[in-house]
Symmetry: D2
Subunit: 203 residues, 4 copies
């Protein structure tokens, strides 16, 4: 079983990413259950806007696309800006839009039998909305989103410290993150054992 | 396997419900696969606002709650008003909010190992947003939402005929609805065979 | 100048309303500037679902509708449930939907030249989303929403005390509320002095 | 009076932009009323992600920022991807986020006394949601959004032709666009005659 973290922070390496810090709670839990995990920080790559899998010379998306297809579990991690998923999160969903019409060898959409969870940080408010946007976008594409497969840390109202600048309420976000990891793994395993099959699929 | 349709139309029986008409596509598909289905039109019941399962004398919600717990598959069907889920859809989610802290005999939240899909109608625009709100709300509660487990018929821009007043684009909405039914059944079956277990659950 | 507060709490009198408490900050500021204000707690009234202004016997909405038409300023106040506006908030917007096709004596939609602001409370997260839904709904109907005409108090992540159970961060929410009141009054005054006119209106 | 169109299409010049085509209806109406208008296609520029006004060498945003400050009217035009505003629309809002703390000579936030409208295209569904996100984002920043200051063309359900590939329902979108232009101009004029003043502003 493999899991991929897409970190949609606006900041590139080596700047510290709050989103990565919270996502690492899920990673640790998955690793301790034998899942191989990898994280990609999209701001470090060259990903032009568009809705095709390969936009040609210099486009780094095809390598991300390949990692997506190798992973049964996707952890989609986004900061919150103006209460919304980051522009890089939306950029990733737009590039993933091509997957709607890509089919696996069995004829099913490539995202079928994969699960996705959501991690959100932000120093104000907006996590539930970010979760709604990411979950709906990934469900459109074909990912299954298990119940409670998310965690967040947004500490409004108004401006305040970032996740890594305080310890306030980390415990809740971390416990919730471990729950998310456990349901992601359980549902991914259930789909691995009894996948949606081309025979059952009606289109 | 049982499926429950929650019809969140603002109109009560015997008024015609466009939402029910589109939901029936999924019902037919599920029935033909041996699933026992039942539909509840919430506007026909007395459901006061609140966030508890039983608000006392005259509250019809406890019977709906019971049906929810008997069903592995939930089809949440809502019209679109001002681009949003109907007030009755939000009322239902508020009453379901109590399920977050209700646990089954195995100690897991009662909605775990259940799947939910979304059906949306409307004579203008807004289906993707309604899907995002319902999916996120039900995922909060513990339902698993399979990839592409939805269909819709919103025929904007601007005002126009309702679903039952025209044949335009019904074919797409119906085909998409049959796909939704098939993935709902496949993922519900996978979770029945290999449920999220109390041992795997980390909270 | 008149202002109306629509309190969309799920709780009826005499239960304490957090939403009312925060809305009162704007009321105090408006009153101190000579604005006549009134508050309606919708949960105290009988308001059936629908999209007409008058649903007949026992419908309390027509009296609310009348107050809306007497007020240049609307303060739409909602709690947050599952990250969404309350079902009563959506019910109010559905009933206000009829105003889209109601015209004033000058032929313009009745909501033109009126302004609206938003007040949100909740013990978790979701204010920005509630603001987005209420603002878009009221803009659809014809209300003008001035910049920063909102305040909120949601103190996530995870569950915690309600607004009236703690003093944390009240100062920010109150200051932001006074700003909201001041811009509502300023823009309402500008529109009173130079209203959108039937001559300028292009439809 | 000046108006600026921010075209948030994913496509750069010389590709045809559906969003630009619909936005031009508002431009024509404004120009015929003596408003000087300019359009910027953000995909043609180099705009790195971030939340500051100037990200240094090669950043094209500062010139857009300058145009924003010269314009009393903003027309924010976005396509719909996965039911959301485009990543470029979100990128623009993130860069505009810095304007929240920028003040004019009179001490008020720079976006005060400016108005914004929204134009949305898409071959499926999602306009109301895009309007809600853009309106809330710009209201956060300080823009006033007049009632009905938007138009859209999304022709769901399911995939179909783009705006420029069909004539279906253009009339409704164009009429609605002319209304939007007329209310934008009327409210901008009212605020020019009676601006929100530093004396009235309470912060």
């Amino acid at each position: 079983m493999k899991a991929l973290v897409l970190n949609c922070s606006l900041k590139s390496t080596p700047e510290q990413s709050n989103t990565e810090a919270l996502a690492s709670v899920l990673v640790t839990e998955l690793v301790s259950n034998g899942v191989e995990t990898e994280a990609v920080r999209l701001a470090d790559l060259n990903i032009p806007p568009g809705i095709s899998t390969d936009l040609g010379d210099g486009d780094d998306w095809p390598s991300v696309h390949e990692k997506l297809l190798e992973s049964e579990i996707l952890i989609f991690a986004s900061p919150t800006w103006l209460g919304h998923p980051s522009s890089i999160a939306q950029l990733a969903m737009e590039r993933m839009d091509a997957m709607i019409s890509e089919t696996a060898d069995n004829g099913l959409p490539v995202a079928y039998n994969r699960v996705a969870g959501v991690v959100v940080t932000g120093n104000e408010d907006g996590a539930h909305h970010v979760i709604s946007q990411v979950a709906q976008g990934l469900i459109d594409i074909g990912y299954t989103v298990p119940g409670q497969a998310w965690t967040y840390w947004n500490r409004g109202p108004g401006p305040g410290p970032s996740y890594l600048e305080t310890d306030e309420k980390h415990e809740w976000s971390e416990t919730t993150g471990r729950t998310a990891a456990s349901v992601l793994l359980a549902v991914a395993s259930a789909l691995q054992a009894n996948p949606i099959s081309p025979e059952a699929y009606k289109a």
